[in-house]
């Protein structure tokens, strides 16, 4: 039962990645366009679909929940393999161009948030 949940997650993941890669090819760019997003939507929809038919067992959910709990440890490992030394040592251009645009974008956040409230 547990492995069915893991398999469901894996299936959604692979279909999502393939969709993202295909979209990237169509657009003639060397990148995966939204693969993770498609996989997530697929997982949410298939979970709803299975639940409605009473096919979604508790143990299946646990197979997925294990991985979502592994998320932060994976992110810690990801931080540990970044090229931090290069980032800190490649001079002012990289530092400024890495920092200032983020500050400007984040400053836009309350403005765009207002957009949602007007629409909803």
């Amino acid at each position: 039962m547990l492995v069915r949940g893991v398999a469901l997650l894996a299936g959604c993941f692979i279909i999502g990645q393939l969709t993202g890669e295909t979209l990237g090819r169509w657009l003639h760019i060397d990148a995966n366009v939204g693969g993770v997003g498609f996989a997530m939507i697929l997982l949410i929809l298939s979970q709803n679909w299975l639940e409605k038919r009473g096919l979604f067992a508790k143990e299946m959910e646990e197979g997925v929940l294990f991985w979502s709990k592994m998320y932060i440890p994976v992110i810690v490992a990801m931080s540990a393999i970044q090229n931090v030394k290069m980032a800190l040592s490649s001079g002012m251009v990289a530092l400024l161009a890495g920092i200032i645009p983020v500050v400007i974008c984040v400053a836009m956040m309350p403005l765009i948030s207002k957009l949602t409230k007007h629409e909803s």
Binding site: G34, A80, V102
Partner: protein, 253 residues
């Protein structure tokens, strides 16, 4: 003694599980004793990861942080794109499709605003720092989007390899800044609900930074931020070498 190293290398992924487990345990402890839980354990652990990455880079001179130390090479698999994306997708379980649909338009707007603003600011800084040719300005502007958009764009527009290296460094600086900064600015920008997390994902863009920053802020927000951030790199790779490059060329022929 050699056989110990061999065992560690052969079981790299398991060694990474063990080491990350120890880091997280120690970070939870620090969070409780030093900061009275004000700074979440996960934020300390992610920061510790970055410090380890720096140490790894200094010790080995390599590009993969701590994973360049052979005994810890399993970090490359555990922290690589496959596990990262797999665990991000798994967080969607229980996320609300209704909220995603409702915030969809604002998410799309935030993606375009995030990419175009980052590009303009990055390009402006490149110009201010003495780069006056269209290819270099475009590439560094693209690097201000993510560390993938930078080199993809640089290759497409024919930038020199040192400029491409700077664009990658720019993207990494951005990812690190978003990782560390998000928990601190969250309350000032209203980052406490799924809608704002989606907008944040679109504005921030860098999947690793947004994912790690939100994890340290509130793990419940992760799927929403990741949902928009996942489109950022693709859209950036689409816009930077095309429309944005053409626009830069008008000003710097």
């Amino acid at each position: 003694m050699d056989y110990i190293t061999t065992v560690l290398i052969k079981n790299g992924l398991i060694v990474a599980f063990l080491v990350v487990g120890i880091i997280m345990y120690a970070s939870e402890g620090l969070s409780k004793t030093l900061t009275n839980k004000k700074l979440p354990g996960s934020a300390i652990a992610i920061f510790a990861g970055l410090v380890l990455a720096y140490i790894g880079g200094v010790l080995t001179g390599g590009k993969k942080g701590i994973a360049d130390i052979p005994q810890l090479s399993g970090f490359e698999l555990m922290g690589g794109a496959m596990f990262r994306d797999f665990t991000i997708v798994s967080t969607a379980m229980g996320a609300s499709f209704a909220i995603i649909k409702k915030t969809g338009l604002a998410g799309v707007v935030s993606l375009f605003v995030g990419i175009i603003l980052s590009f303009i600011a990055g390009a402006g800084i490149a110009f201010g720092m003495g780069y006056h040719d269209a290819a270099s300005i475009t590439t560094i502007g693209a690097g201000a989007c993510t560390f993938v958009v930078g080199p993809v764009t640089g290759t497409a527009v024919g930038a020199t390899s040192d400029v491409i290296a700077i664009s990658i460094a720019t993207g990494v600086v951005k990812a690190i800044l978003v990782t560390i900064g998000t928990p601190f600015i969250a309350k000032y920008i209203g980052l406490n609900n799924p809608q704002s997390a989606m907008i944040f994902g679109g504005l921030g863009g860098t999947t690793s930074g947004v994912a790690a920053g939100l994890a340290a802020t509130d793990p419940k927000l992760v799927p929403y931020g990741a949902m928009t951030a996942t489109f950022y790199t693709g859209l950036g790779c689409l816009l930077c070498p095309s429309i944005l490059y053409v626009l830069v060329k008008i000003f710097f022929p």
